[in-house]
Symmetry: C2
Subunit: 325 residues, 2 copies
């Protein structure tokens, strides 16, 4: 099945020019988010960190970039019946937002245990939610039903050339804002953000290295990176709910080609990193967004003395249930 | 007694040139904080808001500006024995930070019930804390003791020409970053931030109006503004602990001359505004910093359809005791 770019090769990837084109395409629809620094965190980690604040992005997550690029890349004919996706939340909200900007319908398939804040984030932009059981097969079946009923185009959360290109635009901006950096760390769930980041950053600055960060409890991408084949998601649970996803062959190919190393972190370190970001950087982040810093705190990635860009992926967290409480 | 500028006239105030000079003086020591916007909050309030994020400032509050300007304005002779202040926290931390940057001692007199996070914020920068009872007279006595023992110069939290000039630099930056604005709202405790903001902004942009914002439970500045004389602080308690302070004749004079209106807000609105800022703007703020937005939510200030700068004064909040929990 072709993806939003009309691409049917399941291993096709955007190049840096496609990511630059995406950046121009989505510029009217997304924020150029600021980069923050914090001397206190730097001294804890032993490196100079540049936090790219995608928690300030439209819909509260970098996902707005990929969704906007996919939706605005559709031809008028393809777009007319709307778009559909399955998502634990942020991509769903992002697709709803992008569809509203283009004036087309959006349908979002969501597990019935999705956090309330993520449900509200989708409804706010006028999308229709279809609830399903919290399994991959139930989600895919519900998505197919919507496609068959409405003619909506599936926009996959990460296994999509246009989505990956859109996610890579955050790294392009980060390199404009902090050209000094020599490492970028991004969290890895399905691998869309990490793929786009790695393609954009390594092509833009020779010698720059991109690292992936994962919870040890959902360390399938790190394991796949080591073994050379896509490993299954472990059955354990992580607080970083945005990262409970397996790689696709497409994102795995990008990661193998362009990512230099993976780190994993404990659940405890995610909570400590999240609290450190609230307390010292004064920004609100979701657990998944704290995973790169958690890996730096636990030293599973070696960044000693380096200048490190950190993609802060999102800020949609339930403020009634902060994990340190 | 002369203040940090050597000024002994108790009604002396900085002009906009002094604020511009302060901006240049403190530039190496403070962050140029970003300005954030949020379409969701704008539609709740019915105005376009530009949030000047002084919660991202050094020590987590705008107070770093005034303290740095005061400390770096001291002559070498005056500076050599250090500086002292009484402060519920943010000014104390700011003074400790500024003194550390200049390499001189700092002494901070603090009530023994001051929040732990604020105590740590002072110790982090190597200052010596002197605890005292939580009354104005006990603070002043402890401060005098330190001056007599050490020869340290008193840097008052707001009743000081250099401190007011430093606080005004946030408004100068805001007008560079969002020159479109026609109103600025700042919270008012002792009035240092509001005075500096009003002097800087009204001189920089003709027609621009500056509004003060206060909790109704500590509405002494609003009452003073109406009555034309400094009214006492009511005995009631507000969650906005940074604003439990009376005006000085100096700040009252600036406010009467340059502030166009005052708004007050309920405690409930402060909590709702604070949560809205966490949830929608994705930043961590302390209750005092939510007071301007609380006044806009409760419509005690009329900003309908305007472009409004909001000074987000600080982000030092106890994350174990968020007020909506």
């Amino acid at each position: 099945m072709p993806d939003a770019s009309g691409e049917s090769n399941p291993l096709a990837l955007p190049d840096v020019d496609a990511i630059r084109a995406a950046h121009a395409r989505i510029a009217p629809h997304v924020h150029r988010t600021p980069v923050l620094t914090c001397a206190g965190i730097d001294s804890e980690v032993g490196a100079a960190l540049y936090f790219k604040c995608e928690n300030f992005q439209r819909v509260g997550a970098f996902k707005a970039r990929g969704a906007c690029n996919a939706v605005f890349s559709l031809s008028k004919d393809d777009a007319q019946h709307g778009v559909v996706t399955h998502s634990s939340g942020n991509h769903g909200a992002a697709l709803a937002y992008a569809a509203q900007r283009r004036g087309i319908p959006a349908f979002v398939v969501m597990p019935d245990n999705a956090p309330k804040v993520k449900q509200e984030n989708v409804r706010r932009f006028g999308a229709t939610i279809r609830f399903c059981a919290a399994t991959v097969s139930a989600r895919e079946a519900a998505c197919e039903d919507v496609q068959n009923e409405t003619g909506a185009v599936l926009i996959h959360p990460f296994d999509d050339v246009c989505v990956i290109a859109g996610q890579g635009t955050a790294a392009l901006e980060l390199l404009e804002q902090a050209s000094i950096i020599d490492i970028i760390v991004a969290p890895c769930g399905g691998g869309g953000l990490l793929s786009g980041t790695a393609i954009a950053a390594t092509a833009s600055k020779p010698g720059l290295r991109v690292f992936g960060a994962e919870p040890a409890n959902a360390g399938d991408a790190a394991a796949s990176f080591r073994s050379g084949k896509i490993e299954p998601l472990p059955p354990t649970v992580t607080i970083a709910d945005g990262l409970r996803t397996s790689l696709a062959p497409r994102t795995f190919a990008a990661i193998r080609a362009h990512v230099a190393a993976f780190g994993v972190c404990s659940e405890d370190a995610i909570v400590r990193a999240m609290r450190m970001v609230f307390e010292r950087l004064k920004i609100v982040v979701e657990p998944s967004a704290a995973v790169p810093l958690a890996c730096l705190i636990e030293r599973s990635l070696d960044v000693a003395g380096a200048r490190v860009g950190v993609i802060v992926s999102g800020g949609n967290v339930d403020l009634d249930h902060l994990p340190w409480q």
